[in-house]
């Protein structure tokens, strides 16, 4: 169905729509994960053949690995790992198998598997439920990693991931699940993997954002505008591969960069983005690169301890002002 209409819906509903469209629209997609039966009963997968809906026992390593075996033999599995921390239990088949089987077999396989992992930070769930683990997976050649920050991108990137012939991890920002936006209803709408999006044009300072930090970056840009500071706000959307052209493009406009990344400081996504800027864009820099990230501590439970750790509009605006 081609359709130019959009509908206002939550980020979570946009993900659900993407999933249902890809399950109903083809016969090789399957979904596997915990508690899937409940969602199926609620109509989440429409009239999809029940054989393609697998409500799995709590066996993340097993079903993440089975998805690889299914992908290399002709299915297109969507694996719902739910909370992002659980990806560590599934890391072996994702890293040692999914990411490498095509390469290690001299191209005998494609591995079209999608892993969904939702990052449940800033909700008082403590350190075993609050991780933003994408930087580790950016270090794995063979994978693709996306982090949608809007309902539209949630639909478009999840669909692109499912249709891609390589393993893709979709890191969802759970803080965004309930946030609404306009989402294209066209069943052929996808957001290309590897392309950043400029959300606000500016000339004084670049704010390069990762995942749900986009909304904080846009608030910071509003605040900066009141002081006459013009911010260029770019959401990377895909972290592997990084959109180098977009990173260097915004740098060329402003010469000043704040990178906003909810991962921890050491070896976070921001570290690699900063390295690209310094290696390939040093001559364009008017000031050193600033990072607004999460400090290197495990995430505490108690809200007054947790909340101040993450990037927020105030921290972003302050970092930008320091560059002016």
């Amino acid at each position: 169905m081609t359709d130019s209409k959009t509908m206002r819906m939550t980020y979570l509903d946009a993900l659900g729509l993407a999933q249902r469209e890809e399950l109903e629209g083809r016969d090789d997609t399957i979904i596997i994960g915990e508690d899937i039966a409940l969602y199926a009963a609620g109509g989440a997968y429409g009239d999809t053949d029940p054989r393609r809906i697998r409500s799995a026992p709590i066996s993340e390593c097993g079903f993440a690995g089975m998805a690889v075996g299914a992908a290399i033999t002709g299915l297109r599995p969507i694996v719902d790992l739910t909370i992002a921390n659980f990806i560590y239990l599934a890391a072996d088949p994702i890293i040692n198998q999914a990411a490498r089987l095509r390469y290690m077999t001299g191209g005998q396989f494609k591995v079209p598997v999608t892993y969904r992992a939702s990052m449940w930070h800033s909700q008082a769930n403590a350190a075993q439920h609050s991780d933003r683990p994408y930087p580790m997976f950016m270090n794995i050649p063979g994978l693709k990693v996306v982090c949608p920050a809007t309902p539209e991108d949630a639909k478009g990137l999840l669909k692109a991931a499912i249709r891609d012939d390589d393993p893709v991890i979709v890191f969802e920002d759970n803080d965004l699940w309930g946030k609404k936006g306009d989402v294209p209803l066209d069943t052929e709408f996808v957001v290309p993997i590897g392309k950043a999006k400029t959300h606000r044009e500016g000339s004084d300072v670049s704010i390069i954002s990762v995942s749900g930090c986009l909304r904080h970056a846009l608030k910071a840009a509003d605040d900066l505008a009141k002081d006459g500071i013009s911010a260029d706000v770019v959401d990377l959307r895909t972290l592997l591969p990084l959109d180098n052209d977009a990173i260097l493009g915004t740098l060329a406009k402003t010469g000043r960069v704040v990178i906003v990344d909810p991962a921890h400081r050491t070896m976070g996504a921001a570290a690699e983005i900063a390295a690209i800027i310094v290696e390939d864009g040093f001559d364009m820099l008017k000031k050193p690169v600033k990072r607004v990230v999460t400090p290197d501590v495990p995430i505490p439970f108690s809200p007054p301890m947790e909340a101040p750790l993450y990037p927020n509009p105030q921290k972003i605006a302050a970092a930008a002002r320091e560059l002016m």
Binding site: I30, R51, R52, R54, A56, P57, S59, C61, G62, F63, A64, G65, M66, A67, V68, G69, A70, A71, I72, T73, G74, L75, P77, D92, P93, N96, Q97, L101, R102, Y103, M104, T105, G106, G107, Q108, F109, K110, V111, P112, P141, G142, K144, D164, D165, D166, I193, G194, P241
Partner: protein, 326 residues
């Protein structure tokens, strides 16, 4: 018909034996990069399992990777070229000894992550079930891998979904140099199936006929839609864990090794059985000559083949390519 099957089985066992002996020789000649693990002593277990499968059935396996695709009927030349890291290798020089994969015969990957092949085959069985294609999947794993949690997870999921998969344990008694007796609370791996609702069968892995019969029954059950079977073939590795690996301390006795080599050699046992069943000595010699020739041709092909261009390292990373950052 039975004769044809037995002749082919004998040929495949000899191809494995000959391939492994040639690889061992090439290691000592310094021709082989990296680690090599041979299946000498385990040929009846491997071939007995593979002969019960069709060519489009799936197999996955282990770091001891050579025997499985050969048992499934793979051509030797691309396998030997892979051992030497050549461009003509079955994996184009990207996998090497521990990662043979030959999809032309249903071999969907040997894994150097112990237990890594188990979910791969279970997932292939899921594909077969979803597509209704009638195929089955068989995963070879060792006694060492039976202690990986992923086996328990996959046994359970295969049981609840009645997946057409055969969990085939080549229990050679040692995980590298750790005896199974020191690492298994329940020494019979097959008995672990019961806890997950999967029938377990123990067979003499040195006897082709026993393995073939047990696997055929498991395959028939899987194709009927009745679900998985766990087969444990009690077998023995004649050589060291890894070619050229000599560990002081003696984790197994020379007497034990010698007893298996002289009394429980699966190739010898099968030959004796074929003779007793009336196959002519000349027919056996003909198969033996053929196997030797195939191995020699594979070695010559591998040696003559070129190495890959170093730039090829940057190819085949993705199916939908992205820019590779160097």
């Amino acid at each position: 018909m039975k004769n044809d099957l037995q002749s082919e089985a004998y040929l495949r066992m000899l191809k494995i034996r000959g391939f492994e002996q040639a690889v061992t020789r090439l290691v000592t000649e310094g021709e082989v990069p990296g680690a090599v693990h041979t299946s000498i002593g385990q040929e009846a277990a491997i071939v007995g399992a593979c002969m019960a499968l069709n060519i489009d059935d799936y197999i996955s396996g282990t770091h001891r990777s050579h025997g499985h695709p050969i048992g499934k009927g793979a051509e030797l030349k691309p396998l030997m070229a892979e051992i030497l890291g050549k461009a003509t290798g079955v994996c184009k020089g990207r996998g090497g000894s521990m990662h043979f994969t030959d999809t032309s015969v249903g071999s969907i990957g040997e894994s150097a992550i112990v237990g890594g092949g188990i979910p791969i085959a279970t997932g292939a069985a899921l594909t077969a079930q979803v597509k209704g294609a009638g195929q089955v999947a068989l995963t070879f794993f060792g006694d060492g891998a039976s202690n990986e949690g992923v086996l328990a997870e996959c046994l359970n999921m295969a049981a609840i979904w009645k997946l057409p998969v055969i969990f085939f344990c080549e229990n050679n008694g040692y995980a590298a140099v750790t005896p199974a007796a020191n690492s298994h609370g329940q020494p019979d791996v097959a008995k672990r199936g019961e806890g997950y609702g999967v029938p377990g069968v123990i067979v003499d892995g040195q006897e082709f006929a026993a393995v073939y019969a047990a696997t055929s029954a498991a395959v028939a059950r899987a194709r009927r839609g009745d679900g998985p079977t766990l087969i444990e073939a009690k077998t023995y590795r004649f050589d060291e864990h890894c070619v050229g690996l000599f560990i002081k301390g003696g984790y197994r006795s020379a007497d034990e090794v010698n007893r298996f080599k002289t009394q429980r050699d699966p190739v010898t046992l099968f030959r004796e059985r074929l003779l007793a069943e009336g196959m002519a000595e000349s027919a056996l010699v003909e198969i033996e000559t053929q196997a030797l020739k195939l191995v020699e041709e594979a070695v010559a092909f591998a040696k003559e083949s070129p190495f890959p261009d170093p730039e090829e390292a940057f190819e085949l990373v993705h199916a939908n390519p992205i820019a590779i950052r160097r």
